[in-house]
C-alpha cells in the first residue's frame, strides 16, 4: 500500500489554563490518501478546527501537541522547528480559512501576493510567476484574470476572495490542502460554486484535502470519507456514503436525524438531549454517554476505541459487544 499523504496517529492537543489542563484533542488517528477528500465534521467544541491547526503547526501557546505523530507523506512534521514547519506550510500544505480576509493582506494587490508566494517556494522568475498567477486565477474561476490580478482584496466580493485564497493555497502545488470552514461565511449560491471548485482541484491535481466543517451537507457533496468528531475524539469514520446513509455511532445517528433536509416532510426532527460537554467537564468513559439513549454501565467507565465495522470504524461499546457476541 502506498504511503498516505497525511497520517495522524493518536494525536493529543492540550490547552493549559489556570484552572486545569484541557484536552482539546484526545487520541485522534486518521489517514488521507492522494487525491482523497476527507471531511472532518463536528459541532463547535468538537476539536475539528484544532485538529486542522495541529496538522499545520499553528497551535499557539497555551496550547501544545502533547502526544502522537503527524506524518506528511511519511515524514514527521509535528516536532519540526518553527522555521521548517513554516516552509512545509506554504510549500507542501495549502490552507483555506473561513474568512478570506484574514488570509489576504489588504494593502497588497492580489497578484503580488500570489507572485510572492510562488517565488518563495519555487525558483520561477518574476514574469513567469506572474503568468502562473494569472493562470491560477483563471483556474479558480475568476473572470478576466489578467485584469483582476492587479486588484486589491477589497475590490473582490466574498466568493471571489475565497477563490483568490484557494489560488494562493494551490500555487505551490501542495500535496495537502487544509480547508477550515471554507464556505461558512458565504451565501448558499456562492457556497455551491466553492465546493465544486475544491472538489475539482482535488481531482485534477491529485491533492489530498482535509475539509473541516460543521455542515453535513457540504461533507456529503464534497468528501470521499468523513470523520465525525465529538469531544476531541473521532466517534465514527468511514466512506461518506456509509456514514451519511447508515451511521452507526448513536451520536452520528442523532446528528444525521437532526439535520432538516429539503426532502424532509413536515415531521419532528430527531433531537439529542443536552449539548456537547465543555472541555473542562468531559465525562469519564465515552464522552457521549450522558446524552446517549443506549448507554450502559461500561460506557460510563471505559473509553471506547474506534473499531472497524464494515467499511466504517466506530468508537462505541454497542458494536464492540456485538462483535464479541458474534465471535463467541
Amino acid at each position: 500500500m502506498t504511503v498516505p499523504v497525511l497520517s495522524v496517529r493518536d494525536l493529543k492537543v492540550e490547552f493549559v489554563t489556570r484552572r486545569a489542563t484541557l484536552r482539546a484533542i484526545d487520541g485522534v488517528s486518521f489517514d488521507i490518501a492522494k487525491g482523497e477528500v476527507l471531511g472532518v465534521v463536528g459541532e463547535s467544541g468538537a476539536g475539528k478546527s484544532v485538529t486542522g491547526l495541529a496538522v499545520i503547526g499553528l497551535i499557539d501557546p497555551p496550547g501544545r501537541i502533547s502526544g502522537g505523530e503527524i506524518l506528511l507523506s511519511g515524514m514527521r512534521i509535528d516536532h519540526l522547528p518553527a522555521e521548517e514547519i513554516r516552509r512545509v506550510r506554504g510549500k507542501r500544505i495549502g490552507m483555506i480559512f473561513q474568512d478570506p480576509l484574514t488570509s489576504l493582506n489588504p494593502l497588497y494587490r492580489i497578484g503580488d501576493q500570489i507572485v510572492e508566494t510562488i517565488r518563495t517556494h519555487t525558483n520561477l522568475s518574476e514574469s513567469a510567476a506572474r503568468k502562473r498567477a494569472i493562470d491560477l486565477l483563471a483556474e479558480v474561476g475568476i473572470p478576466a484574470p489578467e485584469k483582476r490580478v492587479d486588484g486589491y482584496p477589497h475590490e473582490f466580493s466574498g466568493g471571489m476572495r475565497q477563490r483568490v485564497v484557494i489560488a494562493l493555497a494551490i500555487c505551490a502545488e501542495p500535496e495537502l490542502i487544509i480547508a477550515d470552514e471554507p464556505t461558512t461565511a458565504l451565501d448558499v449560491s456562492v457556497q455551491a460554486q466553492i465546493i465544486a471548485l475544491i472538489k475539482r482541484l482535488g481531482r485534477d491535481h491529485g491533492t489530498a484535502v482535509m475539509l473541516v466543517t460543521h455542515d453535513m451537507g457540504v461533507i456529503a457533496e464534497t468528501c470521499d470519507r468523513v470523520a465525525v468528531m465529538y469531544s476531541g475524539r473521532i466517534a465514527e469514520i468511514g466512506p461518506v456514503q456509509d456514514v451519511v446513509r447508515n451511521p452507526l455511532h448513536p451520536y452520528a445517528k442523532g446528528l444525521m436525524g437532526a439535520i432538516p433536509t429539503l426532502a424532509g416532510e413536515d415531521k419532528r426532527l430527531v433531537q439529542i438531549p443536552g449539548s456537547m460537554p465543555r472541555l473542562s467537564a468531559i465525562p469519564p468513559g465515552c464522552p457521549f454517554n450522558p446524552r446517549c439513549a443506549f448507554a450502559f454501565d461500561r460506557c460510563r467507565v471505559e473509553r471506547p476505541e474506534p473499531l472497524p465495522n464494515g467499511a466504517q470504524a466506530v468508537a462505541c461499546h454497542l458494536y464492540d459487544r456485538a462483535a464479541e457476541e458474534s465471535a463467541a
Binding site: 451565501d187 455551491a192 451537507g217 451519511v244 446528528l255 439535520i259
Partner: protein
C-alpha cells in the same frame, strides 16, 4: 383563515452616502440603499410564514419593520387591524405591543450579560404589569423556564453560564413572558449547532401547537424553512420574487432564482439530482441592475427582463413565468 398580520407595499431606504463634509470636499453624491422595496404579504393566524433569502436580500430589515424596531420609509404594517405606523392609532399600538415579540439570531447578544436570567425573563412581565407581587412573578418565571426545557433554578444564573442553545431557550422564555401571540424569529438557529438547532426548532413547534402562536420566520437556510414554514416568501435584493405554500415551493419552484437556490443547497440525500448550475453573485444592492434584479444571472432572461420590473402576479415576480409568450418570441 383570517390574516393576523398584513404587510402592504413596505419600503425601506437607507442613506449610505458619505458624510456631508466628505461629499463637499471629495466630491461624490448622495447614495441610497433600497434594502426593502415594495414588499407585500400577509400572515394568517397560527401559521408560520417564512422569508428566505441570501445576505442582502432585506429579510432582516423586513423583520425589524414588522415588529416596529425600524420605521418603514413607506408602506404599512397592520397587525390585528391596528396599523403599526399610523400615529392616530398610537394607543391601540401600545396595547398591541405585548402581543408581538421577537427572537434574535445571536443568543450571545440578545441577553443582557449583566442581568440574571430571572431578571431577563421577568422584564416583560414587569413592563406590561402582567402579574403583581414578587412571589407570583418568581413563580411565573420558573414556570416559563420549565416550559422551554430549562430548570426553574436556572433563573439565578447569568447568561454566560449557559450554552448557545440554552440561551436561545431563555430568549424564547422571554418572548413568551408577555404572553405574545405573534413572534418574529430572525434566524433563530443559524448561530447554533445542528443537534441544538433541532432541539430549538422542535421546541418552537411544540410551543406553537400549545399556544397557537403565529411565527414570521426569517432564515437563509432552505432546509430549516422547509421544516418550519407553512408558507414561504423568497426574497432577492429587497423584493419578494416568489410566494408559495411550502410543498409547492419545494416541489415545483417557478421563479428561476428559487430554482437556482434550491439547486445550490448541499444535499444530504446524495441523490445526484440534476441541478441548475449557479451563475454569478448577488449584485451590489446600492446599484442594482435595471429591470428584474436577477436578470444578469438568469438563464431565461430576455429583453423585457432588462427593462421592466416584474410584478408579483399569482405568487411569482418573473416575466419568463408570467409572460411566457413574449419570452419565447425572438429577441
Amino acid at each position: 383563515m383570517t390574516a393576523l398580520v398584513e404587510i402592504k407595499n413596505l419600503r425601506r431606504v437607507f442613506d449610505v452616502s458619505k458624510p456631508w463634509l466628505n461629499r463637499v470636499l471629495e466630491g461624490g453624491h448622495l447614495e441610497f440603499l433600497r434594502a426593502v422595496d415594495g414588499v407585500t404579504f400577509d400572515i394568517r393566524k397560527g401559521e408560520t410564514f417564512a422569508l428566505v433569502g441570501e445576505s442582502g436580500s432585506g429579510k432582516t430589515t423586513v423583520a425589524r419593520m414588522v415588529v416596529g424596531l425600524l420605521p418603514p420609509s413607506s408602506g404599512e404594517v397592520v397587525i390585528d387591524g391596528v396599523s403599526m405606523t399610523d400615529p392616530r392609532q398610537a394607543q391601540a399600538r401600545q396595547r398591541l405591543r405585548r402581543r408581538i415579540q421577537m427572537i434574535f439570531q445571536d443568543p450571545y447578544a440578545s441577553l443582557n450579560p449583566r442581568f440574571r436570567v430571572d431578571a431577563i425573563v421577568s422584564e416583560p412581565i414587569r413592563a406590561f404589569d402582567l402579574i403583581q407581587g414578587e412571589r407570583d412573578i418568581r413563580a411565573r418565571v420558573g414556570e416559563l423556564l420549565s416550559l422551554v426545557g430549562l430548570h426553574a433554578d436556572d433563573g439565578l444564573k447569568y447568561p454566560h453560564e449557559f450554552s448557545g442553545g440554552q440561551r436561545q431557550r431563555v430568549a424564547i422564555a422571554r418572548a413568551l413572558a408577555s404572553e405574545a401571540e405573534f413572534i418574529v424569529c430572525d434566524e433563530p438557529t443559524s448561530a447554533l449547532d445542528v443537534s441544538v438547532q433541532a432541539q430549538i426548532l422542535n421546541l418552537m413547534r411544540d410551543l406553537q401547537d400549545k399556544f397557537g402562536l403565529t411565527y414570521l420566520f426569517i432564515s437563509h437556510n432552505l432546509a430549516v424553512v422547509r421544516h418550519m414554514a407553512s408558507r414561504i416568501g423568497v426574497m432577492y435584493l429587497g423584493r419578494i420574487v416568489e410566494v408559495a405554500e411550502g410543498c409547492a415551493l419545494f416541489n415545483n419552484p417557478r421563479m428561476p432564482y428559487t430554482k437556482m437556490l434550491l439547486g445550490a443547497v448541499p444535499d444530504l440525500a446524495m441523490s445526484g439530482r440534476q441541478r441548475i448550475p449557479v451563475k454569478g453573485e448577488i449584485p451590489n444592492p446600492i446599484d442594482p441592475p435595471p429591470g428584474c434584479a436577477f436578470n444578469p444571472r438568469c438563464p431565461l432572461a430576455f429583453d423585457l427582463c432588462r427593462k421592466q420590473l416584474p410584478e408579483l402576479i399569482d405568487g411569482v415576480a418573473c416575466h419568463a413565468v408570467n409572460a411566457p409568450a413574449e419570452a419565447a418570441a425572438p429577441a
